[in-house]
């Protein structure tokens, strides 16, 4: 399984960095959409190696970060029920709701479990017919097919003690929302490669045309990201605004047809609130009418739980690229990975956590001279 080293080769990276320096003549603001890309950029120090003219803006592409507080509170209410086995991806367990997180629910006796595959949750449901098994189905288009597969199979196999708490979000409406913002500074996007490996690239040409903005489908290893940036800068410098695929080893234009068929069957588009940003029309998926029986929010009657976000936290501005994480007054003071105020400080893919973990040195040196 060699897929990392080839795409981290320092000699090739150096050549790409030199090419980017050579073609850059003016300041450009480029947003990487996906939290996985943010993590990789900061972890490898890629942004430190780019020309000063190029500013990377960290986008809203961390699913843990954008899941609204309200949904977290609903998850906590469901997970606290004695009849429920609540299953989730690991990242979500430490996201604080209004007053607790899933770890706390567990220490108080709740049956909360980390699973790697959503289908493991379905297996738990089959093995525990006297318990209700709920899977916290969050994520972008990338995680959606596996989550959809759970209810597809549950329905087919007649497993009735399984349900999904769905908070799926979609990338293209978020890109549009960012471009529509009157304070938008973004001049180009690195699109999230793994989202496109599921959905293909057909959703993006309308965006490049309407907003006159280059979009380059980009992977996650250092060379992938540098190549995405190189192609983006070439477009910006030459005044083009096109869709390009810089991640062809994973992305084809038509996407994954089988996955998309299943997504069409299981989900339907809905308006979705993004933590820190607010409501974005048509930016999420909920279970379709055919699968409404598997909707955990309805099954456990938690739709009346409504929650306001913290007023101190400026994660919305971070997620829109309006401020850098350390420009928030609470950063590193009231808000740390240990005691996060907002979701961007929680997930290791969150921009604030990435800055806190990897970039405090710059800040210490800046403060200390």
């Amino acid at each position: 399984m060699k897929y990392l080293d080839e795409f981290s080769n320092p000699d090739l990276a150096k050549r790409l960095i030199e090419e980017i320096h050579a073609v850059t003549t003016r300041p450009w603001a480029i947003m990487e959409v996906c939290g996985g890309q943010t993590h990789s950029i900061i972890r490898h120090g890629i942004d430190q190696l780019l020309p000063d003219e190029i500013e990377m803006i960290h986008g809203p592409g961390c699913p843990v970060c954008v899941t609204p507080l309200e949904i977290i509170d609903r998850a906590l209410a469901i997970a606290a029920r004695p009849d429920v086995i609540f299953c989730s991806f690991g990242d979500m367990l430490r996201v604080p709701g209004s007053d607790r997180d899933l770890f706390r629910i567990k220490s108080e006796g709740g049956d909360v479990r980390v699973v790697y595959s959503p289908l493991d949750a379905l297996k738990l449901a089959r093995e525990n017919p006297d318990r209700e098994v709920v899977f916290f189905g969050i994520g972008f288009e990338t995680t959606a097919p596996a989550n959809a597969m759970t209810v597809y199979q549950a329905k087919r196999l007649g497993i009735t003690n399984f349900s999904l708490l769905v908070s799926h979000v979609l990338v293209p409406p978020a890109v549009a929302a960012i471009m529509e913002s009157p304070t938008c500074r973004v001049q180009a996007f690195l699109a999230a490669g793994h989202v496109c490996s599921v959905m293909g690239t057909h959703e993006y040409p309308p965006l490049t045309d309407k907003y006159k903005v280059p979009i380059v489908v980009t992977g996650f290893e250092p060379l992938d990201i540098l190549e995405g940036i190189r192609r983006t800068v070439l477009q910006l410098e030459s005044g083009r605004h096109e869709l390009e695929n810089a991640y062809p080893r994973a992305v084809v234009a038509d996407g994954n047809q089988a996955a998309m068929q299943m997504l069409n069957d299981v989900f339907e588009v809905t308006d979705r609130a993004w933590r820190g940003i607010g409501m974005i029309p048509g930016s999420g998926w909920r279970l379709s009418h055919a699968y409404a029986d598997f909707d955990a929010e309805k099954r456990f009657a938690v739709t009346d739980i409504h929650t306001e976000e913290s007023s101190l936290c400026r994660s919305g501005e971070v997620l829109q690229g309006l401020i850098k994480p350390h420009e928030c007054e609470a950063f590193g003071r009231e808000c740390t990975p240990r005691n996060p105020l907002g979701a961007t400080m929680v997930s290791s893919e969150g921009a604030c956590a990435a800055y806190y973990l990897y970039r405090r040195l710059d800040m210490v040196q800046a403060v200390g001279g």
Partner: protein, 369 residues
Amino acid sequence: MAEATWIGPIPDPMPGPAPAAIDMDSWVCPAPLRDSPAIVMGHGGGGAMSAELIEHLFLPAFGSAAQAEMGDSAVVEVGGARLAFSTDSFVVKPMFFPGGSIGDLAVNGTVNDLAMAGAVPMVLSTAFILEEGTALSEIGKIAEAVGAAARTAGVKLVTGDTKVVDSGSGDGVYINTAGIGFIPDGVDIRPERAEPGDLVIVSGDIGVHGIAVMSCREGLEFGTTIASDCAALHGLVAAMLATGADLHVLRDPTRGGVAASLNEIAKSAKVGVTLVERDLPIPQTVRDACGLLGLDPLYVANEGKLLAIVSPEDAEQVLAAMRQHELGREARVIGACGTEHPGMLVTRTTLGGTRVVDLPIGEQLPRIC
């Protein structure tokens, strides 16, 4: 229930017996809310929360009876001789893993704690807490592993204890060992002695034990062939001391990995530690597993490796002696101590950037995508 409409090919829905979801009792909670009124898993993680529990609960309660320097071993003077004294409890799940068992860990863990003070381990106590219903054949295998590890390490098991708890009150077997070792004259090894200019040496590949254990945990079988590096390190330490070199610091980077150990040393000695990413010996299997799970090898546990901090003048002969020893064949320099960024661990990335490597709050949780 009606058959779903999607008719594409789907994988076998339930191949084989259902793996249970990952049992979170064996995970360490990374960042539960600060005001938890009860013990959560994070309190046992060896990171920030463990330190707070000791500082704010145990030490005030112990009052003047406490005389702990918070190192892995205490150093006590008895009749002019200096003795190292250490204790450790072992609750690893599963009890057997590729390359070892809880029995090997119980002996080697305490032997290594003594060895990291430069002590020659002499005697060990072993206390077993056994869960009602555990098969005698399993206890027998573990006891044989304890005996074999002690014979290999050349330590005597001089006292012990056995207790049984109700079924459901334990995970089969918990083991506590305590050990005493003799510190030769002239040996003064402790974290505070790291100095600017000193080099950081690691005795071999990192991340091996943690990935080996993870590879066979319930719900997380990813079929890697890696075996734990569990081993007693006092022979290697003796070979290093025999060179006459002045070893400043030794540490076995167990829970929390290389990152936790070097952070603690940086804070104790008020030096900045800088690692060179391309010099880190990380085996391909560990790289791959960490890549899949979104983990950082620097935080993954080791059980048969040591970190040594020595002056540049001594480094060459220490390295030569290590490479002559079976457990140090791959020893190499991975970084240095300096006056910049005191108290912090920083890595120079392979691409040429830098990033801070923070003290873990608890164990890492796999990222979502």
